[in-house]
Structures are given as structure tokens and as C-alpha cells.
């Protein structure tokens, strides 16, 4: 799935990464516990979360994720967006809640990559 499709499907606003809209992503995870993101997911490229602090970007960076979707209409500070921009991570903000946002993407073919062991 292209990032621009996620943008459309989730009525999302693109906050940074305009040049990466055509990048393909193949898997996602939805989580508010960054510790769990670090523990259970591998080779994922999209992170859906309701947290909007800088550690979300840091976690995505550590995991080599390409795109963060902030759900429930939450808007991160400009400093958080700037940090993501610097790390070449696309940031989207969607009005959908986590469950719906995940369901919509899953239905359109974006699956989970990792599973807990």
C-alpha cells in the first residue's frame, strides 16, 4: 500500500514527508505502549498510535519504521514533527480512533508483520 492511500483511507492530514507519498509500505502495528512496539514487532513500516510525544518518533526510528499515524485527531507538537522530518519518517494525523483506523487499513490489505512469540 502506498502512503498516499493511507492518507486517503484514513482522511489523514500529512504533517511531513510530502516527497514520500508514493513509498510502498507492507505492514503495520497499532499500539500505545512503545515498550510493546519494541518487543513484538519486526519489519513493520507503519505505526498507528494515540501517543504524541517525541519517544514515539524515537521508537519508530529504532525500529526502522517509515510512517507514523497519529489517531483520534491528536496533533503532535511541531517539535515532534520536526524530529520525524529529520529522520525521514512520514507523519499523518487521522480523526479515526485506533480500532477503526487499524480495521480500515487491514481491510485494504495492510496486515501485521510480526507476532508475539
Amino acid at each position: 500500500m502506498k502512503i498516499r492511500e493511507i492518507e486517503t483511507l484514513l482522511d489523514a492530514k500529512l504533517l511531513c514527508g510530502e516527497d514520500k507519498r508514493d513509498m510502498e509500505v507492507y505492514s503495520a502495528c497499532a499500539c500505545d505502549m512503545m515498550s510493546d512496539v519494541l518487543a513484538f514487532v519486526k519489519e513493520q513500516s507503519v505505526l498507528l498510535t494515540g501517543l504524541v510525544n517525541p519517544q514515539v518518533v524515537r521508537t519508530a526510528e529504532m525500529m526502522d519504521m517509515r510512517c507514523i499515524v497519529f489517531v483520534r485527531g491528536k496533533m503532535p507538537d511541531e517539535s515532534v514533527v520536526a524530529m520525524a522530518r529529520e529522520k525521514d519518517i512520514v507523519v499523518l494525523a487521522s480523526p479515526y480512533r485506533m480500532y477503526n483506523a487499524s480495521g480500515i487499513l487491514y481491510e485494504h490489505g495492510l496486515k501485521e508483520a510480526g507476532r508475539s512469540e
Binding site: M33, M34, S35, D36, R58, T59, E61, M62, M63
Partner: protein, 144 residues
């Protein structure tokens, strides 16, 4: 890579959880520049990131030393915090003593040390109550 190991040193500021992870991010950049395989880079970066967070959350910061050689990344994290009273318990997934303020940021789920163990090939913890803790994590480069 030359045979001389690359050594990195960081002082981890204990005051600010929001900015924790800068040392891990810098090490990750260094490993990329040195041409390390991406899975080795990620494993080392996550192990160090969890350790860095632990030092900020529990020990008021500390020091991080990284030795990068052709065959392995060796991370040593040293703090002068309260020590870990029961290491076996601390290694258990889900066990946490982190305050709620940490959980609001998405951490403190009792996964810090278990995650370090998961991503490091070798992990050792040397802790003394009231004196501090030294955690050594090694990630091998199997392509070397």
C-alpha cells in the same frame, strides 16, 4: 572496517525522559556509516535504547560506552542509581517499578530488561544495592 574498534562514549542525562534515546540514535547512525547489517544495527539500537531509558527512569542517568568492532557491538551502561534488588524479578516480562509518569509516555510496561535480553546475544547485569548497576549487552555481527 579497520581492525581498530570504534569507541563511542555518551553521558546520559537523567533529568529528561522526553529526550532519552539520543545516544542510541547516534550509535545507530555510526553503525550505519560503518556499514553494519541492518538487523544487527536494529538489535543493538533497541538494546541500547531500552538501557538508556532504564537509566533515565530508574537511576538518574549514567554513562554509556560502545565498542564497535568487526565482529560485535559491545555496549556498557553504567549508573550510580539505587541498584536492582531482585534481578530475576526485573527480568520478568511485565514486572515494573516505573512511575505512572513514565507509562503516560508509553514505557514502564516491564519490558525494558526483557527486551534487552531479547535483542542482545549476551547480557550481563552487575548490580549493587545503593551503589549502582552496570549492564553489558553484546550484539554479534554474524556476517563478519
Amino acid at each position: 572496517m579497520t581492525t581498530e574498534p570504534v569507541r563511542l562514549h555518551y553521558t546520559i542525562n537523567g533529568g529528561d525522559l522526553l529526550s532519552a534515546g539520543e545516544a542510541s540514535a547516534d550509535m545507530k547512525r555510526a553503525l550505519k556509516q560503518l556499514g553494519y547489517p541492518s538487523d544487527v544495527i536494529r538489535n543493538a539500537a533497541i538494546a541500547m535504547y531500552e538501557g538508556e531509558l532504564n537509566m533515565v527512569i530508574h537511576a538518574g542517568g549514567g554513562e554509556a560506552d560502545v565498542e564497535i568492532s568487526r565482529d560485535a557491538v559491545r555496549i556498557t551502561l553504567t549508573d550510580r542509581g539505587p541498584g536492582i534488588p531482585d534481578v530475576e524479578l526485573a527480568m520478568r516480562e511485565g514486572y515494573t517499578t516505573a512511575p505512572d509518569s513514565v507509562r503516560l509516555l508509553g514505557f514502564g510496561a516491564g519490558m525494558g530488561l526483557p527486551n534487552m535480553k531479547k535483542y542482545a546475544d549476551e547480557l550481563s547485569i552487575d548490580t549493587r544495592p545503593g551503589e549502582g548497576t552496570t549492564v553489558r549487552a553484546t550484539v554479534f555481527n554474524r556476517e563478519a
